[in-house]
């Protein structure tokens, strides 16, 4: 098996993600690539997450923290120079297939192998870590690493974080904690108790970790990495891909395209509504609330989908309110009715301006 090793070109998250994608696309038959990279202060959201639901966009903009969307699934994470990212890329799929093939010649499934590489690298630095849940690695009672995966063409990429010395205060500041948030379409993050490796071994640095990951990668595949370099065409391709990763269309996704988002705090909690509008009519609605009421988002969708986006029609959608009998959990009917009434009053008094193009 041919082993290749690359490091990121810089600390720019968009360039780093672009380079990863390029490596995935050029990974050859019988090749495995280890790619290590770091981002400057960045919130990285999962492929199918709603940016506005994961992090305070205004704070990020104010503080110069970047926002990036990666190719893999899963939840939002915060990166800075205290975090090391690793990607393991290989060709594990028959060409054109979308699903992993069961038959893995001469080696275990890549997810399992990747976990072993990370656990051995940590162990060689005196950190006893273990795989936890489906995609996490824990040590010293906290999560030190999280994995995520994507398949593209006939290649597979598993990547993850390793928290060496991340500024935990920033992490808390730039990622929303999740409390009873309701997601209409979109993947919610799970909040984990995180831990820096340096709190377990104070002598560890990012450089040490890079060396031990490389050694562990080579050990796992029984070989040595050949010195690999990017060609000029790789570099120009990475520049093009970077534009996509840095674009609003990619970062904010389809909910930004034709969206009208409104938000208001009520006595019982905050409500954020994102409308998709087609020909002036609400065709999609994403409702988020920190009120502990699992039925509210559904009740709102039931009333609002198909309704023209203007105050009078929205108000009408809430009149004849019977508390939405039949679609709410027992016992919460009264609260629901009150919440819906307040939301209806709010929407009825809004002017949305412009025509729904």
């Amino acid at each position: 098996m041919r082993l290749s090793y690359f490091e990121g070109l810089g600390m720019d998250p968009y360039e780093n993600l672009a380079m990863e994608e390029r490596l995935v696309d050029i990974c050859g038959e019988g090749e495995a690539i280890l790619y290590l990279w770091q981002n400057d202060r960045t919130v990285v959201i999962g492929r199918n997450q709603d940016a506005a639901a994961e992090c305070p966009l205004d704070l990020l903009a104010r503080d110069g923290v970047r926002l990036a969307r990666r190719n893999s699934g899963g939840g939002a994470v915060y990166h800075d120079a205290g975090n090391l990212n690793f990607s393991i890329i290989c060709r594990e799929f028959p060409r054109g297939a979308s699903m992993p093939r069961q038959k893995m010649p001469r080696q275990k499934m890549p997810r399992q192998k990747q976990k072993e590489i990370v656990l051995r690298a940590l162990s060689s630095l005196g950190i006893e870590a273990s795989a936890s849940g489906r995609n996490d690695v824990t040590a010293g009672g906290g999560k030190v690493s999280g994995f995520a995966y994507y398949a593209r063409g006939s290649s597979w990429c598993g990547h993850g974080t390793l928290m060496v010395d991340v500024d935990l205060e920033s992490l808390q500041k730039y990622l929303f904690p999740k409390r009873g948030r309701q997601m209409q379409r979109g993947v919610a993050s799970e909040v984990a108790r995180v831990k820096n490796l340096r709190d377990i071994n104070p002598d560890i640095g990012v450089g040490d970790l890079m060396r031990s990951l490389r050694a562990s990668f080579e050990g796992a595949f029984c070989g040595k990495c050949c010195e690999s370099a990017l060609s000029d065409s790789d570099l120009s391709d990475i520049r093009m891909r970077r534009e996509r990763f840095a674009s609003d269309a990619w970062i904010y996704g389809k909910w930004a395209r034709e969206d009208r988002a409104i938000s208001r705090r009520f006595g019982w909690g905050r409500v954020t509504l994102r409308f998709r509008v087609k020909n002036g009519v609400i065709s999609g609605l994403k409702a988020e609330t920190d009120a502990m009421d699992p039925g509210l988002a559904d009740a709102l969708r039931e009333r609002l989908i198909g309704v023209p986006l203007d105050g009078d029609n929205l108000k009408a959608a809430f009149s004849g309110n019977d508390g939405g009998a039949g679609c709410h959990p027992a016992g919460s009917g009264e609260d629901d009715a009150r919440e819906l009434m307040e939301i209806g009053e709010w929407l009825g008094g809004l002017s949305f301006g412009g025509s729904g193009e």
Partner: protein, 133 residues
């Protein structure tokens, strides 16, 4: 693993059910089992063109974000919005949870009968199930 006798299949684990001039497309029971719990399905818009053998949708599970390939070329006439709202329908009822209805079909990918697809998957499974974590 379940296979529906009246559907056609691809080696990339999609099913096709033709009725009249259009066809419903989804992913197979084997595919959903490989993926595990599906948390997100990304679907095309109505009116978009799809091409046989090319990706037209994506699914995200805890294991992977993966492309879904179209068994036919044509135009998306209908999108299963209910699946977008509840992606795990594809786990619970893979042969009921259609992704899109394709109309104006102009070309087909290589399709397998239920028996052929069953044999194909059995071949994959016989290839050995190694230490998946």
């Amino acid at each position: 693993m379940k296979v529906r006798e009246d559907y056609k299949y691809t080696r990339t684990h999609q099913w096709l059910s033709e009725e009249g001039g259009s066809a419903l497309v989804g992913i197979t029971d084997y595919a959903q089992e490989q993926l595990g719990g599906i948390v997100f399905v990304s679907l095309p818009e109505e009116g978009e063109a799809v091409a046989a053998g090319r990706p037209f949708a994506e699914v995200e599970s805890a294991k992977v974000v993966s492309e879904v390939h179209s068994p036919v070329s044509g135009i998306v006439g209908e999108v299963n919005e209910a699946l977008a709202d509840e992606p795990d329908m594809a786990n619970e009822d893979p042969y009921g949870a259609w992704f899109v209805r394709v109309e104006g079909i102009t070309a087909y990918a290589e399709l397998l009968s239920a028996a052929e697809y069953t044999a194909y998957v059995e071949g994959l499974l016989a290839g050995g199930r190694e230490g998946e974590g």
